[in-house]
């Protein structure tokens, strides 16, 4: 008993008694949230590679159309508004979840979902329009990089919407249980992170891309 007590107070055997707190592992909510935060950061690192490729290939149009001729900044502004508002409403859903208010949670999640779907619809329309004008991903290195980067973000949003619908169903069926709340914490982080990546997309891809 005395041995363990000494080891506790001198964890590195430095001969100095240090006051070390032994609170045990952090609560599960913190561990889960932190782990998901690490995943999101690795996702952001992956996106940074696509951004680097896009920035390098921006001028490599192979005689094809450049960003200035292709991008419609009005629809980009609309997409930005959709995603920004959906991120805000998702925050409202977080508050409703913490208050365990089923009604406002489901309303806020439904609005988040509609705004996310509107974003995807505009993006899909834009992609279809580009391909129809002969500016598909095979046209030039610039367009390959563009479709990879923006399409990858679009895939993330699609996955996010599937996750969102799952969360609505789980909260509806199982209520605000601790494990459901942890899942929702991760979902909210994911959705906000997608908006952060979109900020980089509309700035670098569309605004700088149409200036170059």
């Amino acid at each position: 008993m005395t041995l363990t007590a000494v080891a506790r107070e001198d964890p590195h055997h430095l001969g100095v008694l240090v006051d070390v707190a032994h609170e045990g592992p952090a609560p599960k909510r913190i561990v889960t949230g932190f782990g998901f935060w690490i995943f999101l950061l690795s996702d952001i690192v992956m996106f940074s590679c696509f951004f680097a490729a896009y920035a390098v290939l921006l001028g490599r149009t192979a005689g094809g159309p450049s960003g200035a001729e292709l991008f419609n900044l009005h629809s980009v502004a609309l997409e930005t508004a959709c995603l920004l508002l959906s991120s805000f409403v998702c925050g409202m859903a977080s508050i409703a979840a913490d208050e365990r208010n089923h009604f406002w949670f489901q309303i806020a999640m439904a609005v988040t979902c509609v705004l996310g779907l509107a974003f995807l619809a505009i993006e899909f329309h834009e992609f279809a329009d580009l391909v129809a004008r002969g500016a598909g991903p095979t046209r030039s290195a610039f367009l390959s990089a563009f479709f990879t980067l923006v399409g990858c973000h679009g895939l993330h949003v699609s996955a996010g919407i599937l996750w969102l619908l799952t969360m609505m169903a789980q909260v509806f069926a199982k209520g605000f249980r601790a494990d459901i709340e942890r899942r929702f914490l991760c979902f909210a982080l994911f959705w906000h992170a997608l908006d952060i990546i979109w900020v980089a997309v509309f700035s670098v891809v569309y605004l700088i891309g149409s200036a170059a």
Partner: protein, 128 residues
């Protein structure tokens, strides 16, 4: 459990968690939304204007984007500089280091190659 050597680790906060009353939390999100809209509108305005020196526009857009990402991190993801957030901030700092290495390094190396290598058509001529 004393705090003498600063070794006592705080219980910490999960990223995305914050305290406060409902009204206060809604206000935080509203402030974040307002700042984000302001920065987005400025960014779109700067991109389309000819009121400023043209070569400064890409730099201005990048600076505005980084500012807006900061706003999102603080007001939406609640990553703050508080002691309960140390782990989250350290992970973020490491992520940013990698991001800047990847993007900055790629642009630097490719710009160098662009300047110092022969264009492909001339390389083909030399191989004949």
């Amino acid at each position: 459990m004393s705090d003498i050597h600063g070794l006592r680790h705080q219980a910490g906060l999960a990223p995305g968690d914050e305290g406060g009353s409902v009204g206060l939390r809604v206000l935080v999100y509203l402030v974040g939304l307002g700042l984000a809209i302001l920065l987005t509108v400025t960014s779109f305005f700067v991109a389309g204007t000819d009121l400023v020196w043209q070569p400064s526009i890409p730099v201005a857009i990048v600076v505005l984007a980084i500012a807006q990402m900061g706003v999102h991190l603080v007001f939406f993801l609640h990553i703050t500089t508080g002691p309960d957030n140390t782990n989250n901030v350290m992970a973020l700092a490491f992520g940013l280091l990698i991001v800047f290495l990847v993007i900055g390094g790629s642009l630097w190396i490719m710009a160098n190659l662009d300047q110092n290598m022969l264009p492909t058509d001339q390389l083909m001529l030399m191989q004949r």
